[in-house]
Amino acid sequence: MTTTRAQIAAMGLAVTPPAGWEAAIYRRRAEGGALTYPVLHAATIALPPGRGDYGSGLVELLGPNDLFVALLEFGAVAAGSPLFAGLTAVPGLTPDAYRPQQLQRTIQGQAGVQRFFTSAGRSFCLYSVIGTLTNRVALTARANQILGSVRVTAGVEAGT
């Protein structure tokens, strides 16, 4: 079997999904004068249409060997804030970082993690969910595998 891995890139973000991963980089259409920023989604299951930025509509489908990773940009203004300034690159994760209490919405058995960081002058929230806390060691390794392929470049304006 020959499998070629392809990088996808848009809006100053790039990722190379490993085998069995799906990924998307998108920005919602701005409505009512609001600003919108790029979002990167990656998961070991098929990305369903209509999912939320924090994975609603997707995390409910995660199996015990599945996980979800999201990078959500918050804009250049936030990049200087203490919350985002502490980390200056896409962070790696450790198994103990995943906690059930970190989930946006509690789902039995699942665990999540949230990190804030700045890269290339852009501020991001990293949010990840694993299908089961008991598999956190193996799943964290997989999360780091795709996080290691993420590239951020400067100079992307918010959508209006």
């Binding site: 079997m1 020959t2 499998t3 070629t4 891995r5 392809a6 996808i8 890139a9 848009a10 973000l13 999904p17 490993p18 085998a19 069995g20 991963w21 799906e22 990924a23 998307a24 980089i25 998108y26 920005r27 259409r29 070991t44 299951i45 098929a46 990305l47 249409p49 209509g50 199996g63 015990p64 060997n65 089961t132 008991t134 598999n135 193996a138 390794a141 997989r142 595998q145």
Partner: protein, 305 residues
């Protein structure tokens, strides 16, 4: 005399026009015959065009039933469907090493036959036999207008994902549009491909392939880069799902197994039940290496290797 000349002239003109019309009719008949051989029936009252001989089922390359298009030397040479959406988002949809199968429909904005597929996909998610995920693949933005594709595909995030990727067209060696490829996610290989005039015909071909078991799903477990097994491998010995004792592999919900597989499952279930093993028995799962004997007590033979 002038009247005679006029009549002769008109007769000659009518004869000339008749020759031209005959030529056009002949040319039209040849075109229709060629399209008909490809499975396209343009008749308004056609009961449904026949699929081509390129049925949606796995075929050995090079055999008498081999795909009559530029060769596919390695059915396992698959790539994820990576490209952009008509809205400009970047996307990579996994087709190998995953639990789900993928039915990739390669369409263009210009071909008349493709219009029927666009119309069928725009209003709602079509029912794909076996639960395969339907993805529309067009050529990239350098060859297709994203705005036109967006209009054909419907609203963003609609029922059927659309990926614009010329690389996918070239890698999968798509001979013409419309063209469909069925990729087994578990086997990570192309298990069927072909073309038909309408969605119902494609759907029927997929249904036949699924019923015959030629889609190949369930034969292998997808394994990720980290080496962990995917579906079909119990996460823990204690996670025992209800249902049949034996399953040949990950069969997605709603998937119809072939008759031979069902008969084989039933025979194995009966054999296991005769020795006292029923649904949920821990001896059926990894980590419980006990002899398959009805009187095997707990803890007897921790590892029989």
């Amino acid at each position: 005399m002038p009247v005679t000349a006029l009549i002769v002239g008109l007769t000659a003109a009518v004869a000339l026009l008749g020759v031209l019309v005959a030529g056009l009719l002949r040319s039209n008949a040849e075109v229709i015959r060629a399209l008909h051989q490809m499975g396209v029936n343009l008749g308004p009252d056609a009961p449904g065009s026949r699929p081509t001989a390129v049925a949606l089922a796995g075929r050995p390359t090079g055999g008498p039933d081999a795909r009559p298009t530029p060769g596919r030397p390695d059915a396992g040479d698959v790539i994820d469907l990576a490209g952009v959406t008509p809205q400009g988002d970047a996307v990579s949809l996994a087709v190998s090493g995953v639990r789900h199968d993928t039915l990739a429909g390669f369409l263009t904005s210009g071909c008349q036959t493709c219009r029927g597929f666009w119309d069928a996909f725009r209003d709602g998610p079509p029912d794909v036999p076996g639960g395969a995920r339907l993805v529309v693949v067009t050529r990239g933005p350098e060859a297709e207008s994203p705005g036109t594709i967006a209009a054909l595909g419907g609203p963003a995030g609609g029922a059927v994902p659309v990926v614009m990727s010329s690389e996918a067209w070239e890698h999968y060696d798509i001979p013409y549009a419309p063209y469909f490829i069925y990729i087994s996610g578990a086997a990570s290989r192309v298990v069927g491909e072909g073309v038909a005039a309408g969605w119902q015909e494609v759907r029927d071909l997929v249904a036949d392939a699924v019923a015959d078991g030629t889609t190949g799903a369930g034969q292998e477990d997808p394994v990720d880069d980290a080496g962990t097994a995917g579906a079909g491998t119990p996460a823990t010995a204690g996670a025992v799902p209800p249902g049949p004792v034996v399953s040949a592999g990950p069969v997605p919900p709603g998937r119809r197994r072939s008759r031979a597989d069902r008969a084989r499952d039933t025979a194995v279930d009966l054999a296991l039940q005769e020795v006292g093993i029923g649904p949920g028995d821990p001896r059926l799962h990894h980590g419980a290496r006990q002899p398959l004997k009805p009187d095997a007590g707990a803890g007897a033979g921790a590892d029989d290797r």
